[in-house]
């Protein structure tokens, strides 16, 4: 039985016939299919990739966040999916506004999304609606900031104990 080789082009064609305008900014850095979608469509897109008989993207590699302060929609959530049957990967990005970054949770489809979304909330403050237990996972509980957002100086300007003069530099 000849197994049909699934490549990036086939995956992209399937997505574009199904979702048309909701798929944009397509690129292939290092042969890694990367595309952007909207926050209303993300669950449908992942669900489609999961259910499709040919594609079978049934492994969630990672969910993480990103912050581009100069963009109109500065906060991003990035999903990495892997089809173990076809050995194909896909990266899906969704961008959100800074003042109320809300997006639907993926925990209904992948239980593993639970901790990944908690981490993304912990560092970027992105609210995942429908998450069963959205609280910090790595940082101390009483922290008020979201430390991976690019809104902090890299060093405390008032520190004196790490001046170069003390080290003969």
């Amino acid at each position: 039985m000849a197994v049909k080789e699934i490549n990036n082009q086939a995956v992209l064609e399937k997505l574009q016939t199904k979702f048309a305008d909701a798929i944009f900014n397509v690129s292939e850095p290092h042969e890694f299919l990367t595309l952007t979608t909207t926050k209303d469509k993300i669950i449908d897109v992942v669900q489609f990739l999961y259910n499709d008989d040919e594609l079978k993207f049934r492994f969630l590699t990672d969910i993480c966040g990103i912050h581009y302060p100069e963009q109109e929609l500065p906060l991003g959530v990035i999903y990495h999916l892997h089809s173990l049957t076809n050995n194909v990967r896909i990266r899906i990005k969704v961008f959100l506004p800074e003042h109320a970054p809300r997006i639907a949770s993926l925990t209904g489809l992948f239980l593993g999304a639970n901790w990944m979304e908690r981490e993304t909330y912990d560092f970027f403050g992105i609210i995942f609606e429908g998450h069963p237990d959205l609280r910090r996972i790595l940082n101390v509980d009483d922290m008020v900031a979201f430390p991976m957002r690019k809104e902090f100086p890299l060093e405390d300007p008032n520190r004196t104990d790490k001046n170069d003069d003390y080290f003969g530099r």
Partner: protein
């Protein structure tokens, strides 16, 4: 002739069949050659310490034979590695659970000052939460460095008066850290 080195007796009065010295000196001698360390190893310095415990460097030579991973009966807390702010209350609790007399050794740059991790999640030196007796520099320090640190602790132990921990100065030091 064997190469075994004996510890020198403390200064005292020696006569036929007796030897008299001060209680401080005798107790200090006994304590310093039977330190029971509690290794609080969180990262690379902890690995270096494992080498110190191994046969080649053999920490047991100094009487620090029983390394306990419990505060019970331990008298030397060795903090080795990065202490994140989330770990700080744990470290403090371990220190509070140790009985007096207790000594603390900060091994390596991270435990002493936060090291290269000048960042929001790392405690910039354990002396922000517990008093420290000896700092061992290095990133990570070689086993010789850790042994040198232990020898410094032994010197402190030998020369400490029995009443130091009842002194006003010591109580003020602990009060500074909010320890009763």
């Amino acid at each position: 002739m064997s190469d075994i080195k004996m510890v020198e007796a403390p200064p005292g009065i020696e006569g036929a069949g007796f030897f008299a010295t001060s209680l401080d000196k005798a107790v200090g001698l006994a304590r310093s050659y039977s330190l029971w360390p509690l290794p609080f190893a969180t990262s690379c310095c902890g690995i270096e310490f494992m080498a110190t415990m191994g046969a080649h460097y053999d920490l047991a030579r100094f009487g620090a034979e029983r390394l306990s991973f419990s505060p019970r009966q331990a008298d030397l807390l060795m903090v080795m590695g990065t202490i994140a702010k989330k770990m700080a209350p744990v470290l403090r609790q371990v220190y509070l659970q140790m009985a007096e007399p207790r000594w603390v050794m900060a091994v390596g740059a991270c435990a002493s000052s936060g090291g290269i991790f000048d960042t929001y999640s790392v405690l910039q030196g354990i002396d922000e939460i517990i008093p420290v007796d000896v700092y061992v520099p290095g990133c990570p320090p070689r086993p010789e460095g850790i042994i040198d640190g232990l020898n410094r602790i032994q010197e402190l132990v030998q020369n400490e008066s029995l009443r130091r921990r009842d002194s006003e100065e010591y109580k003020q030091l602990l009060a500074k850290y909010g320890i009763q």
